[in-house]
Each structure stands twice: as structure tokens, then as C-alpha cells.
């Protein structure tokens, strides 16, 4: 609503806010810095100062941004998700946002799916056979579904005979659950184990169909 005026240079805090708002995905500090440098060197003149911005300055600006956002109580918050910052709505306003978006039926993961996901998350990279060992039941279909949902991915092939796939969680998994890193999961030290030790222990199960599909991709 204001006239086209770029005569006032914005503070770093404003810039990170505008960027987080307009971005379609969480932003890393590196990415924010890159855009600032590009703008600074592209525009030149008084903008050149932005080309010299450091990562710690950006981090400071992000902290300040979050602080001021929460102080203003405008229904918004910042979260660190998978190592990147995301602007999101205040959790207490969730029910209203859902009503607005008519997302009354949120897709929730089933218990078995959540359990499978938990095993993959804590034990990654892990074999299908490891998951089945823990759950005592075939996880073929569930694993497939979790991969469709892009919550689980193939990390690499293991060195075991038959070279079965090793599974892990995705960036999307972190976003979906609002987790910054796997290490932030409760009891992660306890539930994890040296992967080498287990890779040997676990029996190799073939996973032919799925593997075939994956190879096509």
C-alpha cells in the first residue's frame, strides 16, 4: 500500500522474516546468506553491506526475529526443522487454521506405521529384516507406503550377501514431525546401536519385488 520506495534499507531481521515467509520450504542459514550476498552484489551501492553478512549475523537476526514475533503475538512462530528454519503458525491457532483449510481429517499415520517409522528413525540405516525382527511381523507393505509418503528412503545397499537395501528417514520425515535432527528424538542414544555390530548379526532377507521397483526408478 506504500509507494514503491526502496530508499530505506531493511534490517537483517526484516529480511530473514520476509525470506522465511516467501520461501516454499525451510531455509538454511547458508541459503539465506547466499540470497543476501546475491542481492548485495547485484544491487551494489548501499546494498553492498549485505554481501558481507556472516552466518552468525544471520543466526542472530533469526533469533531476534523469533523473539519479536513471539512478543508481538501475531500467531506466527519460527521452528528449526531438519537444520533449516521455517515460519509456521502458532500451535494454539491450529484448530482454526485446520477449519479454514478444511483439513478436519488430517492424515494420521497408523500405529503400525508409526512403529515401523520409529524403528527406521532410531536404527537407520537399517535393513527390512531388522525392522521385522523388532516388530515380529512382515513390514513389506508398510515400508512401501512410508516410501510413497516420502517419509522413508533407501540410503544405500548393505555389504551383506545379496546386498539388501538399507533404509533411513527423509528430510520430509523431520518436517512432518517438526524435528530438527534425529538426535533430538528422546532416548536416541539408548535405542541406537553401532550399525556395524548389527549389520553382521542380522540375517539377510531378500526384498526382491521392492528392490526391483527401486532399481527402475
Amino acid at each position: 500500500m506504500s509507494e514503491s520506495t526502496i530508499d530505506v534499507l531493511p534490517e537483517l531481521k526484516q529480511i530473514v522474516g520476509a525470506m522465511l515467509f516467501a520461501a516454499k520450504e525451510p531455509l538454511s542459514i547458508k541459503r539465506i546468506r547466499k540470497a543476501m550476498i546475491e542481492t548485495g552484489s547485484g544491487f551494489g551501492g548501499p546494498y553492498e553491506q549485505y554481501a558481507k553478512v556472516t552466518e552468525s549475523q544471520i543466526e542472530g537476526a533469526l533469533e531476534l526475529f523469533q523473539e519479536d514475533l513471539l512478543k508481538a503475538k501475531v500467531g506466527l512462530d519460527v521452528a528449526l526443522v531438519g537444520g533449516a528454519y521455517r515460519l509456521q503458525n502458532d500451535a494454539v491457532c491450529g484448530p482454526f487454521v485446520r477449519a479454514l483449510l478444511e483439513k478436519n481429517q488430517t492424515v494420521r499415520l497408523s500405529k503400525p506405521a508409526l512403529e515401523t517409522l520409529a524403528i527406521v528413525a532410531y536404527r537407520q540405516p537399517c535393513l527390512r529384516s531388522e525392522i521385522e525382527e523388532v516388530r515380529g511381523v512382515s513390514v513389506d507393505a508398510i515400508l512401501r507406503k512410508l516410501m510413497d509418503m516420502q517419509l522413508v528412503r533407501v540410503v544405500r545397499r548393505s555389504e551383506l550377501p545379496g546386498r539388501p537395501w538399507l533404509f533411513g528417514t527423509t528430510q520430509r520425515f523431520l518436517q512432518h514431525f517438526g524435528i530438527n535432527s534425529i538426535d533430538d528424538l528422546p532416548g536416541s542414544q539408548e535405542l541406537k546401536r553401532a550399525s556395524t555390530q548389527n549389520e553382521k548379526k542380522v540375517a539377510t532377507a531378500t526384498f526382491p519385488e521392492m528392490e526391483k521397483e527401486l532399481e527402475i526408478q
Binding site: 509507494e3 514503491s4 526502496i6 515467509f21 516467501a22 516454499k24
Partner: protein, 261 residues
């Protein structure tokens, strides 16, 4: 002779009113007291150039030239005689045209306002994360010089060319495709060229015209843009889609050259 399928056909969306307002502004004359003789002469000069360059000019331009001639002739009549011809009292023969120009000028100002809003909105992103984009349709850039600015530049360049020995001119061979390559190559190095510099050092009218037609052709193909910062400012030529290869077949505009001499 010019080949039938050789048309620069840069769609001239600007009309005769634009040309008149352009000339009025250029000469800094009062819109309510247009020196009709001088403006008419200039109008005809531009029109002639546009015709010669075979731009897609509409009949509207011709109609306007007739109107201008009529006004000019009536201005020469004493006021009493004018009254005899038309029943109206004392009306200045220019009045209808002035009214039309003033009305149009208002909308041009309104368009300037929209332009400012559009530029402002370029910096605004909503939650949809998209400034309401108009799609990829290549459009002429807003800062683009009008066709009249370009013709004016051509006129200046032609004026600067020394009167030469005609023999010499026809001995030299210039083509539009050659000049297209020349412009593209130069823009690879310079990134941005003043249109005046593009004509610099050219000694024949043919060369100037070929260069000019090459500029129009490249604009039409959206390969370059002729931008102008501010009214009557310098016209700069910039590349638009540098990655595209140039594959343009030209019929050389021999007729254009002939008509200019």
C-alpha cells in the same frame, strides 16, 4: 525490390495519438496551442520513415495525417471564413484534436500509475509465494523505448551520415543478417550498448538502415530489448535470451534502401 514476405512487422501498438503526444512532448509545446504546421511536418516525416521501413502501420496513421492537413489548411483561413464553413462559432479547428489528446493523455497518466503499482508489486510476495505472475508470454518490457524513440534514433543517425558518393554506397554490400550477427556479437562483449554507438562509424545510409532493421528484427524475436531510462533518454540495447541460437532468414530490404535516397 523488397520481397513481399519481408516484413519487420513489429506490431506497432502505438497509434497516431501516441505519435502526436510524443512530438508535442519532444518539442515541449503547449498541448492547448499546438503549432500545427510544425507538428504536422514532423508527423509526416515519421510516418514516411515508418512506411519506408515497412512497419505494420495501421490506416489510423493515414487518417490522422489527413486530419492534420485539414486542420492546417483551416488554420490558414481567416476566422470569419472558418465560421462560414462550419456552423459553429469561432471554434479553433484544433479543438477536437486537442480534446482527444487531452483525454488520451489522462489515460496515459493513469497507465503510468498502474506501471508504478506493477513495479511495486514485483517486490511483494504473498503466501502463495508468487507475485501474481503473468505467465511466460514474452511481452515487450515496460522500459522499452517506443517505436517513435527508435525511429528518432534512426533519423539522427541518418542525419549524421555524410553525404557520400552514391557510387561508393552501392559498391558496398550490407545486409540485415550481417548486422544481426554484428549486434549479437557486440552484445556478447558489451552486454549493453547505446543505440547511437551501434551506428557509430557507419558511413553509408544503407549500413545504418540495415543495422536499424536488424535491431527491429531482434526486438521482434525477443532477442534484444531497447530500453530507455526516462523520456527522451539514451536508448540502450540489451540482450534478452542470450542462450537461443540465431537462425533468421532474411530477404534483404533493397527497396527500403532505394527509397531512402
Amino acid at each position: 525490390m523488397i520481397e513481399d514476405d519481408y516484413k519487420v512487422s513489429l506490431d506497432v501498438f502505438e497509434g497516431p495519438l501516441d505519435l502526436l503526444l510524443y512530438l508535442i512532448k519532444k518539442d515541449e509545446v503547449d498541448i492547448y496551442d499546438i503549432p500545427i504546421g510544425r507538428i504536422t511536418d514532423q508527423y509526416m516525416e515519421y510516418l514516411q520513415l515508418m512506411k519506408v521501413l515497412d512497419l505494420n502501420i495501421a490506416g489510423d496513421f493515414i487518417v490522422m495525417s489527413a486530419t492534420l492537413m485539414l486542420i492546417k489548411s483551416r488554420m490558414l483561413l481567416p476566422v470569419e471564413e472558418r465560421r462560414d464553413e462550419s456552423e459553429e462559432e469561432d471554434e479553433d479547428p484544433r479543438w477536437d484534436l486537442v480534446r482527444q489528446l487531452v483525454e488520451y493523455k489522462k489515460f496515459k497518466d493513469a497507465a503510468d500509475h498502474l506501471e508504478e503499482l506493477e513495479m511495486h508489486m514485483e517486490n511483494i510476495f504473498g503466501r502463495e509465494s508468487e507475485y501474481v505472475e503473468l505467465g511466460d508470454a514474452p511481452d515487450v518490457d515496460l522500459r522499452d523505448a517506443s517505436i517513435f524513440d527508435l525511429i528518432s534514433a534512426l533519423n539522427d543517425a541518418l542525419g549524421r551520415v555524410q553525404e557520400e558518393d552514391l557510387q561508393e554506397i552501392f559498391a558496398e554490400e550490407y545486409t540485415v543478417s550481417q548486422k544481426v550477427t554484428y549486434i549479437i556479437e557486440n552484445l556478447k562483449i558489451a552486454k549493453r550498448l547505446n543505440i547511437t554507438d551501434l551506428f557509430a562509424g557507419m558511413h553509408s545510409r544503407m549500413e545504418v538502415v540495415c543495422t536499424f532493421l536488424a535491431v527491429l528484427e531482434l526486438i521482434k524475436l525477443n532477442r534484444i530489448a531497447a530500453v530507455q531510462e526516462g523520456h527522451f533518454g539514451q536508448i540502450m540495447v540489451e540482450p534478452r535470451n542470450p542462450e537461443l541460437p540465431v537462425e533468421i532468414e532474411f530477404e534483404e530490404p533493397a527497396q527500403v534502401i532505394q527509397e531512402l535516397f
